[in-house]
């Protein structure tokens, strides 16, 4: 028999057990699609279409961008309703640095917290100390240094930021290439050069060294921000993403108007077709025939907004430090 004292649960102190469980769930989410949902019906559509997880929020990035105002954590009531409606893991967003929102999300029992630049930041210097939570966190990053700073703070998953709410994949590509390229570059450095690399990237030496030795991030690296079509998903997976976040790409009709999936069967079917196709393309990202067939089955695509037309001060990706 096992010594009962050797049994461990994550409810106690913060140690390797908690981190292993966080990374364990991140591992389970590989090779799939996490979809932003704003109501119970959208969450059901996502689950039916094969999403591995849903992100519960009140407004998808495209609406936040169009409507302006302060974007905050979703109402706990909405999050609870969505958690009750689906069996897949449920994620929710907290503002950068807003640890009280994160405490609420942990209390609600969400499976992953996204400390997200899509919401209006609550702290212009500090991110949340994610080691202080038993719920795992995902954070956005545009480059290796940013990714490793978030991992140092306790993030169990990184997603490249892209430019959320645009339906334009260009920045998702840029950020993934940046991170993958910077990882490759440090794998050839000597031990003494790694100290300098840590300084250049503004990241802890131990993490820089770990990445240099293994050739990959110590946590799963997913892709987000502008992925709107099956081909976009296949592109990001081939560039090295381990899973795909789709925000506004499935449930938006015009720039700030969602498809009416609750009352309009045709618009519901359109959302289902987009969701299914992106799920299929993410798994079969290396098989152009399957991605082509999946793309053909899609009716309609989010109109989108060219990322190049957005002024730098209006970009969401520049939030985070």
């Amino acid at each position: 028999m096992a010594d009962p004292s050797s049994n461990s649960t994550p409810s106690g102190g913060i140690g390797s057990t908690t981190l292993r469980l966080k990374l364990g769930l991140a591992e389970m989410l590989k090779g799939g699609v996490i979809m932003d949902v704003m109501n119970v019906e959208q969450a059901r559509i996502a689950e039916e279409a094969g999403a591995i997880s849903v992100m519960a929020l009140e407004r998808v990035p495209a609406m936040i961008r169009a409507e302006g105002g302060v974007a905050r954590m979703a109402n706990p009531k909405l999050i609870r309703q969505i958690m009750a409606a689906v069996t897949i893991p449920v994620m929710a967003k907290a503002r950068i640095g807003h640890f009280a929102e994160a405490q609420i999300l942990q209390h609600l029992g969400v499976d992953f917290i996204d400390e997200s630049e899509v919401l209006t930041p609550a702290d212009e210097t500090h991110h949340i100390d994610k080691h202080a939570f038993t719920t795992p966190f995902v954070c956005g990053a545009r480059n290796l240094g940013e990714a490793l700073r978030r991992i140092a703070e306790g993030a169990a998953m990184i997603r490249t930021k892209g430019e959320a709410g645009t339906g334009d994949v260009v920045h998702a590509v840029q950020h993934m290439r940046q991170i993958v390229g910077e990882i490759k570059a440090i794998t050839v450095l000597s031990d003494q050069e790694l100290y300098h690399a840590a300084k250049v990237h503004g990241a802890p030496y131990e993490l820089i060294r770990m990445v240099a030795k293994s050739g990959k991030l110590p946590v799963p690296n997913f892709s987000a921000g502008g992925i709107a079509t099956p081909a976009d998903a296949a592109l990001m997976m081939q560039l090295g993403a381990e899973s795909i976040f789709v925000g506004s790409g499935i449930f938006m009709k015009e720039r700030a108007t969602p498809l009416d999936v609750e009352n309009n069967p045709i618009e519901r079917e359109e959302a289902v077709s987009r969701a299914r196709a992106i799920v299929i393309a993410t798994t079969h990202f290396n098989d152009a025939k399957i991605v082509a067939d999946a793309s053909e089955a899609v009716t309609g695509t989010m109109k989108g907004l060219a990322a190049a037309s957005i002024e730098v001060q209006d970009q969401m990706q520049t939030r985070g430090w």
Binding site: M1, S6, A51, T87, I88, P89, V110, D111
Partner: protein, 204 residues
């Protein structure tokens, strides 16, 4: 035939989930692996692993192009190891809520029976495997609530079976691929070798 053994070729279902982690463990144990995304990828494998992840997502893919029926037949004649969502796929019956399954192993499984991610835990429990107590990593884990008469329990947690075997099928509700303790995968590879030896003997 030379007594030198060729490395085993183990397929890992890679529709979604922890397939990478299984491949890493197989590498440590000297087996070769192939990611399985389509029915034709099953050809020529010595054994198959159905990893953890979301069983609803995997079912969505199995429902395409007759993959479900192909797999249902395939696991009857090929050693197959299911972890977590993989165990759910293999079960005779699934609850919480009910969903389709391959009905390859006579057990009933309740999904997410231990709760959500905050209830995930690492547990050291008794097992019939030689050596110290077995480390079991539970992530939003299912619970086996019934085992049929042919099913052997190899490890358990608080009285519920967590590792079971029947014929060519091995199933765990936890994640041995997330552990440095490789005894469960070793048990599966032994099962695969045993099956090959039995098949060779029958041919003679």
């Amino acid at each position: 035939m030379s007594p030198a053994r060729h490395p085993l070729l183990i397929g890992v279902l890679a529709l979604q989930g922890a397939y990478d982690a299984h491949v890493r463990t197989l590498v440590v144990l000297g087996a070769t692996s192939r990611l399985v995304r389509l029915p034709l990828d099953l050809h020529g494998l010595d054994g198959l692993i159905l990893p953890g992840g979301e069983s609803t997502t995997m079912l969505h893919f199995l429902d395409r192009n007759g993959f479900f029926e192909v797999l249902q037949t395939y696991v009857k004649s090929t050693p197959t190891f299911g972890t977590c969502a993989g165990a759910i796929l293999l079960a005779a019956r699934v609850e919480g809520p009910a969903q389709r399954s391959l009905d390859a192993l006579d057990i009933t499984v309740e999904r997410n029976a231990y709760g959500r991610q905050i209830d995930s835990s690492i547990f050291f429990g008794p097992s019939v495997l030689a050596g110290p107590p077995l480390e079991m990593v539970f992530i939003r884990a299912p619970r086996i609530t019934r085992t049929g008469p042919t099913v052997e329990t190899l490890a358990s947690r608080d009285g519920s079976p967590t590792l079971v075997r029947s014929g060519l099928i091995l199933a765990a509700t936890f994640h041995p691929e997330l552990s440095d303790d490789h005894r469960v995968h070793q048990t599966f590879l032994t099962l695969v070798r045993q099956h090959q030896a039995d098949a060779t003997r029958k041919r003679r």
